[in-house]
């Protein structure tokens, strides 16, 4: 096991940030902690990177205990904290060189590992980090976290606040790193990124709701979901919620995701009901379940 977390709990004053969390990562796995702000993701990262003590439970990273062997862990992991923003007043090259130096290595020594990522920002290596775009900063931060060839990589919300193009590129980079045998624990509030991980843990209020592959998690969703659409969204929501057989009603982009309490639900019936409520251009279609639907069902 590359990372093993057993019954970890952590409270800050009155607030329970992490509540009896357990999970394991195999070597070379890309594992996602998926949950909103305040779910406890950052606290878990800090416990695993030896920055915080857990109140209860045990954890090991790369075979080392997070409390007893914290020095070994600090030599063997790469960490990109959530609000990490590098040294704005140092250039790209100086930043990378600094992190290489403090980890007792050089850029040349591990260039192979970061090459893919670094070549994209190398043309700007004399530019100050503060003057880089969000996407480039993120690439530099990843290069810095990788420069000492860590066995395990911790990425706390690396794609928050980054535009879609950079997000996509970032995940492609993670896939390539995974192929090089690095275990990666990544957290994100974006449900749509869940499907890019090997396995995920859905987390809210410090508790893990479910752990599995994204495909299995979706498969276990107990209901059929229907996309419902009509001209006036607000009225549609009101009508659906007052439909006696509704189980859940959630706006979902241009549609409403509707589930029914009954097993033998017939969409025709709903269509007629909505027509009596004077809705125009009603459309009802069965749709694919997403991680977000599952999350909402579990978090209910």
């Amino acid at each position: 096991m590359s990372i093993s977390v057993q019954h970890i709990s952590k409270s800050f004053k009155k607030v329970t940030a992490v509540n009896d969390v357990s999970f394991e990562l195999k070597e070379g796995e890309l594992f996602g902690l998926i949950g909103p702000d305040g779910a406890g993701k950052t606290t878990i990262f800090r416990i695993l990177t030896t920055l915080l003590f857990a109140d209860k439970g045990t954890a090991t990273v790369a075979g080392f205990d997070v409390i007893g062997d914290y020095k070994e862990i600090r030599n063997n992991v790469g960490y990109m904290p959530g609000k990490f923003s590098l040294y704005q007043d140092l250039t790209v090259e100086e930043n990378l060189d600094f992190f290489a130096t403090i980890f007792g290595t050089t850029i040349e020594e591990n260039y192979e590992l970061i090459k893919d990522i670094y070549v994209q920002i190398e043309p700007f290596k004399k530019r100050r980090a503060g003057a880089l775009s969000g996407g480039m900063k993120q690439k530099l931060a990843l290069s810095c976290a990788l420069i000492h060839k860590p066995k395990v990589l911790f990425l706390d919300e690396p794609t928050t606040g980054v535009d879609p193009v950079s997000r996509k590129e970032f995940w492609e980079m993670l896939k390539r790193l995974q192929q090089k045998g690095i275990t990666i624990l990544v957290s994100t509030p974006y449900m749509d990124e869940a499907e890019l991980c090997d396995r995920i843990a859905l987390i809210q209020h410090g508790k893990i709701l479910q752990i599995d592959t994204p495909q299995e998690i979706i498969k276990h969703y107990p209901k059929k979901i229907y996309d419902v659409k009509a001209d006036n969204m607000y009225r549609l929501l009101e009508s659906l919620k007052s439909f006696e057989h509704h189980y859940s009603v959630y706006p979902f982009g241009e549609f409403v995701h509707y589930t029914d309490k009954r097993e033998d639900f017939n969409p025709q019936e709903l269509q007629q009901y909505l027509a009596t409520k004077n809705h125009q251009n009603i459309k009802i279609e069965i749709t694919k379940t997403t991680i977000e639907d599952t999350f909402m069902e579990l978090a209910k």
Partner: protein, 368 residues
């Protein structure tokens, strides 16, 4: 070691690329010294004084003549009894009263010594001090004049007494004071800000999760500031010697050693501040309110300690700057050696050890 040097290098980049810190580092000392140097001037002009001549003989007349002939003083009044001294001061008519003893000339010729008393209104201590100096100088030159024509050594003893403010600050006091403040500011505030900046940026988390040892991070942060503070101290001393002609009486080497000690004291205070504050803003507030204000107000730099109420006098003892100012005063103004200031040095060293021990205890290798 390579890691450590890399770290120190990075710190220097930060300092030299931040115009604000560069200004605080180098603009402030120069600006402060010049400001204090020119604002507190010891020039006096046409000061009103009164004469109480108990002797009224040829010699005293000659001296009075000389004083009134100078452009510095104008004699406003002649006083005939002791009680009047108090009244003229209270009415604010004059800033000084010159009292010649009885039988001034007779004493001078018979015993080769005579006494003149300069009583000054020291509500404005700097002016009072200047007045005393000028009068002493005039009397001194008169003394030389009469000695030239005589084989005997005539001594006129000028005694001064300052009313209302018994301990007088020298005009040169501003140099030790400013130096103390600058070193405190640069060392304590700048280090605490630079450490908390890493916390704010989130880079402190990375540094903690790196093989760098915590003390390497701290020492690495501190080294550039030791270096810069020393440069600052040198600049201040040079400015005061060459621009303000301040005599440095004691050993420059001892001065340097004591300054390094005080720099380390301030740095350890800076580290201590950074362990208790999470943001640059808090660090700055604590440095300004918790260090600068007491340093300016309670160290004896501006307000003499002996005229403070007792509780403040007691509190002033825990202010490192107080001891450093005493040391600087000793070395720069009085020219004393270590045997006279060992007590102050020891106190300062003790404080430093205490702050370092406390910061090590408070510095966390984790985030809590």
């Amino acid at each position: 070691m390579k890691r450590f040097i890399g770290f120190v290098k990075k710190e220097f980049y930060h300092i030299f690329r931040d115009k604000r810190s560069l200004f605080i580092l180098f603009g402030m000392p120069i600006a402060q010294i010049l400001l204090f140097g020119f604002a507190i001037t010891n020039e006096i002009n046409n000061v009103d004084i009164a004469i109480f001549d108990k002797s009224n003989d040829a010699t005293t007349q000659e001296i009075i003549q000389k004083i009134s002939a100078s452009k510095y003083f104008s004699i406003k009044q002649n006083i005939t009894n002791e009680a009047e001294i108090e009244t003229v001061f209270q009415k604010g008519k004059v800033l000084a009263v010159l009292v010649f003893e009885k039988d001034f000339k007779k004493n001078l010729t018979k015993d080769n010594a005579a006494k003149v008393h300069v009583i000054t209104d020291a509500t404005d201590p700097n002016t009072a001090n200047s007045i005393t100096n000028y009068i002493s100088a005039i009397i001194g030159s008169y003394q030389k004049e009469i000695n030239k024509n005589s084989t005997l050594e005539y001594q006129i003893e000028t005694k001064s007494r300052m009313v209302y403010n018994p301990e007088l600050k020298s005009v040169f006091m501003f140099v030790p004071g400013v130096m103390t403040i600058i070193l405190m500011l640069v060392s304590a505030m700048m280090t605490s800000i630079s450490i908390t900046r890493e916390k704010e940026l989130g880079t402190m988390e990375i540094l903690l999760v790196s093989p760098l040892k915590p003390f390497q991070v701290i020492v690495g942060k501190v080294i550039p500031y030791i270096f810069l503070s020393i440069i600052n101290a040198i600049v201040i001393v040079l400015l005061s010697i060459f621009i303000f002609k301040m005599p440095v009486q004691g050993s420059l080497f001892l001065l340097a050693l004591e300054s390094v000690l005080f720099i380390i004291t301030s740095l350890s205070l800076g580290i201590l501040i950074s362990t208790v504050s999470a943001t640059q803003q808090t660090a700055m507030m604590i440095s300004l309110m918790g260090l600068m204000l007491p340093t300016i107000l309670l160290s004896g730099f501006i307000f003499p300690i002996s005229s403070m109420p007792l509780p403040l006098q007691i509190i002033s003892n825990i202010i490192p700057a107080k001891w450093f100012i005493l040391i600087l005063k000793g070395i720069m103004l009085k020219g004393v050696g270590l045997c006279f200031i060992w007590k102050e040095t020891l106190i300062l060293a003790g404080m430093t050890l205490f702050f370092i021990a406390l910061s090590i205890k408070k510095y966390k290798i984790r985030l809590e």
